[in-house]
């Protein structure tokens, strides 16, 4: 019995996959109704489900798929055209099959479901209206059709009977041979008494699906239903001589559209690279005992070129599916693997941070570094096992769009870009619903009805574009339509009507900012509520969900041109970069995604720089007012007192500028410590209710640190500052300018940013070309002597022992003089997301910038250049700058 359950489970998994494929194929068919491959693929899928459901005695399912198969067969034969009605009926069929499978999954049985309506519809569609096709090539279907219609139960009973599982069937003359035969063949055979076209064609199809199963070690169990067709599949496998013979025939499972990969010879002939005769000769040689591969033989005979064979192999490979080289793994297992790797990363961090303090044993340090590298690698690889292409979240969208477009009378084409962009499956799960919602919105509210589009001079068919790509360690998703766009005036009117904003606030907002108000809760634009979207729980829910996984969403729209939603989401949820900060002597972590920039409060700028507007603290940041939240007050560690005394004014500290829930605000903290990758751990039930914490984590030194929830803090900020502040914030959001920087790795994973305008060239220099002159490293570079400075030494970072024969160098040139800054690795050119913070990090740095989602130190290029060549700027400056830090002067003297 247990073995049976296993078979059913496998059947369900396989069928669900097949159904997704089916949806896609059917929609593709709508575009190219004549494609025989697509029809064959659809037929095969339905056929497989039918066969297995008959074997497993799911009679309703079998009955339904049987009719569907008949229809497909007629379509394939060209007996009836594939029109709108037939396609819709087939899509309905897929839905019902899916429903039945779900029922089987949850209850173990098919349940009772009235299929007669759909079966009747499908049966009726077997006839090509207007042409008397009765009596042509498929008498089987014709004669069975009325039977199915009128006496469904009787027909129902006889079909499984052919498979030899239901007692008392025994109608068919071929009942005895049925177990070895495919059920389609027998089903048609009963009616026609002869071998119909369907039966004959079904055989290879059954064969390929049969092998697909047998690869999963079920050969013996499935034998009754696959025994017959096994032979042709095996033939095909023999012929496909290049690789993995057994797998080749089963390649159709995840990618039925392409069917079994063709033998190499056939591919070559198709490509015109060789003649059928040459292939025939090569085949014969193989049969005579030549063990070489067919490509090899052809090349030896001079009947095909090496290039052509290589090319053909690639073609063959692409037709082969990934299934051959993959295994199914339980997601639970991956999750626990991920957890363990998280722990390993923590343990590694702890070890490394201890070693930094007491590194006396070089061998130990080296092993620790090795461990560190391997751990990072492992983390990356394990992360990859959980990665899935975004397509798994997208593949239902064309169907959703089609149904919705039909329903609301739109013509929509879905275009997808970057379908294979991978992201963590937990993230994928989290974005699935918001994505569907946005797509629905785009079709329902975005794209106009055809007549409106025509009047506007646009093509009647609207385009819904989905785009995904990786950038700066994050995944970017765009959903754009070329529809009517969002009219800021309508939004504004609506917002006023709903009291979401005051006229005074509105006056300060720019159109793009007004559009962002669609994310406010209780905002719905639809004039009349449709059953698909427009219930007022729309975009705010999307936003909350996306922010819940540490992502962000925004919208750009132009009236008459269209709307684009941009989602930025983290690659994974398990390990996140976080900024650790100090407050009242304790440490806290803030997820780096919400950190925009850091501002130091020191000297005369200390907390005296905090002003009060209507009792609420604010800070002037680049001419905009930033509302502030004091962390010590938020955590109840200091009394809430806006009029803090003089003592507080001279206290130093930092403002961490955070972005969450549509608002930008500053969190006043005592100290900013560093950035770490952390594993988020949930809090116990006693602390879950405290919303200001998103969880806890364990830092490298083993101490537990609470993770602050930026969204909750943002709400406090909003409560403190009210809507006026929000308006101010929105104006200031755009203030940051993006300056390109070159991100380099200095050593030990430490990264620095170099302003791109300071970079003249990037060079790889042979280590052998480096000479030492007066304790300095120099190379000959473009006819001049170029001094080198190793940034790792300059910045006091340990490097792994460099045994490479080339070093990466960033060249800085002014006039004829150049200096080379030696780095470990050139990383990326990125736009620094916001302004810099000054004089924070001691010598060698100008401050820090946020690049992507990390804080990176901004290199003080001038002092680095001076370290290599103290006289570098002397042409411009008569004497050395007296403000240079003393230790640099010492280095100059050394």
């Amino acid at each position: 019995m247990e073995a049976m359950d296993e078979i059913v489970a496998e059947f369900l998994v396989e069928s669900h996959e097949n159904l997704d494929q089916l949806d896609r194929d059917l929609l593709a068919l709508e575009r190219s109704p004549a494609s025989p491959e697509l029809l064959a693929s659809v037929f095969r899928t339905i056929h497989t489900i039918k066969g297995t459901s008959g074997f497993l005695a799911f009679h309703q399912l079998e009955r339904l798929t049987h009719v569907g198969e008949n229809l497909l067969n007629r379509l394939r034969d060209g007996a009836v055209p594939l029109d709108e009605d037939r396609l819709s009926a087939l899509l309905r069929l897929v839905d019902v099959v899916r429903y039945l499978l779900r029922t089987i999954e949850s209850t173990g049985e098919e349940g009772v479901c009235d299929l007669d309506g759909l079966i009747g519809q499908l049966t009726a569609l077997l006839q090509d209206v207007g042409t008397g096709s009765r009596g042509d090539s498929a008498p089987g279907e014709d004669s069975s059709a009325p039977g199915e219609d009128g006496s469904a139960p009787g027909e129902d009973g006889s079909a499984p009977g052919e498979d030899g599982s239901a007692p008392g069937a025994g109608t068919g003359s071929r009942g005895d041979s049925a177990p070895g035969e495919d059920s389609t063949a027998s089903g048609d055979g009963t009616a026609s008494g002869g071998s119909s076209a369907a039966g004959a064609e079904a055989t290879p199809a059954g064969g390929s699906s049969g092998t697909a199963r047998s690869r999963r070690g079920q050969r013996s169990r499935r034998k009754p239903s696959t025994g017959g067709p096994q032979a042709p599949a095996a033939d095909a496998a023999d012929a496909a001589d290049a690789v993995g013979a057994a797998g080749a025939a089963g390649g159709s499972a995840p990618e039925p559209a392409t069917g079994s990969p063709d033998p190499l010879g056939k591919v070559l002939v198709e490509a015109g690279a060789t003649s059928p005769d040459a292939v025939q000769i090569a085949r014969m040689e193989q049969e005579l005992g030549d063990s070489r591969r067919i490509g090899h033989i052809l090349v030896d005979h001079g009947t095909a070129t090496v290039d052509a064979v290589t090319q053909a192999l690639e073609v063959q490979d692409s037709r082969r599916s990934v299934v051959d080289s993959s295994v199914r793994v339980d997601v639970e297992l991956l999750d626990s693997l991920m957890r363990l790797v998280g722990e390993l990363v923590l343990a590694r961090n702890q070890l490394v941070s201890r070693l930094d303090d007491t590194s006396s044993d070089p061998a130990l340090t080296r092993s620790a570094q090795r461990l560190s590298l391997v751990t990072s690698e492992l983390q990356e690889q394990v992360m990859r096992t959980r990665m899935q292409p975004v397509d798994t979240a997208w593949n239902k969208i064309p169907r959703v769009v089609r149904d919705l477009a039909k329903q609301c009378g739109r013509q929509v084409r879905v275009a997808m870009e970057g379908r294979d962009t991978e992201l963590d499956r937990s993230v994928l799960e989290a974005i699935r619903d918001p994505l569907t919602h946005m797509v629905r919105n785009a079709v329902d509210h975005g794209i106009e009805p055809p007549e409106v589009r025509r009047a506007a001079g646009k093509p009647e068919e609207g385009v819904l574009r989905l785009r995904a790509y990786h950038e700066a360690g994050q995944v970017h998703l765009e959903i754009s339509d070329d529809g009517a766009g969002i009219d800021p005036e309508r939004i504004a009117a609506k917002a006023l009507e709903r009291d979401l904003v005051t006229p005074a606030q509105l006056a300060q907002l720019r159109p793009q900012e007004i559009i962002q108000m669609i994310f406010l809760s209780g905002f719905s634009l639809s004039k009349e509520v449709t059953n698909l979207s427009g219930r007022g729980v729309g975009m705010d829910v999307v936003k909350t969900r996306i922010e819940g996984i540490g992502g962000s969403v925004d919208v750009v729209s132009e009236v008459g041109k269209g709307t684009t939603f941009r989602l930025t989401i983290p690659l994974t949820l398990a390990i996140i970069p976080a900024l650790t900060i100090g407050c009242e002597g304790r440490r806290y972590a803030v997820p780096q995604v919400s950190v925009l920039e850091l501002v130091r409060l020191s000297g005369e700028h200390a907390r005296g720089g905090i002003e009060l507007i209507a009792g609420a603290p604010v800070y002037r940041l680049r001419d905009t007012l930033l509302p502030l939240v004091r962390l010590d007050e938020q955590l109840g560690l200091a009394p809430v007192d806006p009029e803090r005394g003089e003592d507080d004014d001279v206290r130093g500290g930092f403002i961490v500028v955070l972005q969450a829930e549509q608002s930008r605000f500053g969190l006043v903290v005592d100290d900013v410590l560093d950035t770490q990758e952390i594993v988020v751990k949930p809090l116990g039930r006693h602390l879950k209710g405290i919303q200001v914490y998103a969880g806890a984590t364990i830092l490298g030194d083993g101490s537990v640190v609470l993770i602050l929830d930026a969204a909750t803090l943002a709400r406090s900020a909003n409560v403190l500052h009210g809507a006026t502040a929000q308006a101010t914030e929105q104006v200031s959001t755009e203030a940051g300018t993006a300056e390109p920087v070159l991100v380099v790795e200095v050593g030990s994973g430490r990264r620095s940013a170099i302003p791109l305008d300071m970079v003249t060239r990037l060079e790889e220099i042979n280590t052998s070309a480096i000479e030492r002159v007066g304790g300095r490293e120099v190379v000959q570079y473009r006819g001049h002597i170029m001094p080198l400075v190793r940034l790792a030494d300059l910045l006091g970072t340990s490097t792994e022992i460099l045994d490479e024969d080339r070093v990466q160098t960033v060249v800085y040139t002014r006039g004829t003089r150049s200096v080379g800054l030696v780095v470990q690795r050139i990383h990326d050119i990125a736009s620094e997301r916001c302004g810099t913070r000054s004089d924070v990090d001691g010598h060698g740095f100008l401050g820090s910038v946020v690049v992507g989602d990390r804080v990176v130190e901004l290199l003080d290029v001038e002092s680095a250049v001076l370290a290599a060549d103290p006289t570098f700027f002397s042409a411009e400056r008569a004497e050395p700058d007296p403000h240079r830090p003393g230790d640099l002067d010492e280095e100059v003297l050394a």
Partner: protein, 144 residues
């Protein structure tokens, strides 16, 4: 067979059912959680797992221990969630089948009595059996 893991808190000897106790561990560092109810001493790192620590002294209405005092974590597992109970000192494990069990005497303060199943009258002293579920039911008025 009833076995209690016993420990001292303040002047009392308490016990919790041995089967609920996952382990007993002395950990130096504890991370306080601002805004948490006063009974919550903070968070501890138990081999990579973050656990909430309940200060039994506070829970039982006593003054918190002076910070210099090294408290012991009795890690109990209830509803599959481990929680640490901070106690002053560990006593041991007692088999109590032959020890008379009584309802909590009225001399025990009200606040403590609510958290007890009853008391075992040992020859020389009283062993108070804690109702762990009750102990961990910490309401917090400040959490909205």
């Amino acid at each position: 067979m009833t076995q209690l893991s016993t420990f001292h808190v303040g002047a009392y000897l308490f016990g919790v059912e041995v089967s609920l106790v996952q382990e007993i561990v002395r950990l130096p560092s504890i991370t306080p959680v601002p805004l948490a109810p006063p009974e919550i001493a903070g968070l501890i790192n138990l081999r990579g797992e973050v656990l909430t620590a309940v200060d039994l002294r506070v829970r039982l209405g006593m003054h918190p221990a002076p910070s210099t005092q090294d408290q012991v974590n009795v890690v109990v597992r209830l509803d599959d969630e481990p929680v640490s109970l901070l106690v002053d000192e560990i006593d041991g494990v007692m088999a109590l089948d032959r020890v008379p069990f009584e309802s909590t005497p009225s001399t025990v303060p009200e606040r403590v009595r609510e958290l007890l199943v009853g008391a075992y009258t040992l020859p020389d002293r009283l062993l108070l059996a804690l109702d762990v579920r009750e102990v961990l039911r910490i309401e917090d008025a400040r959490v909205a």
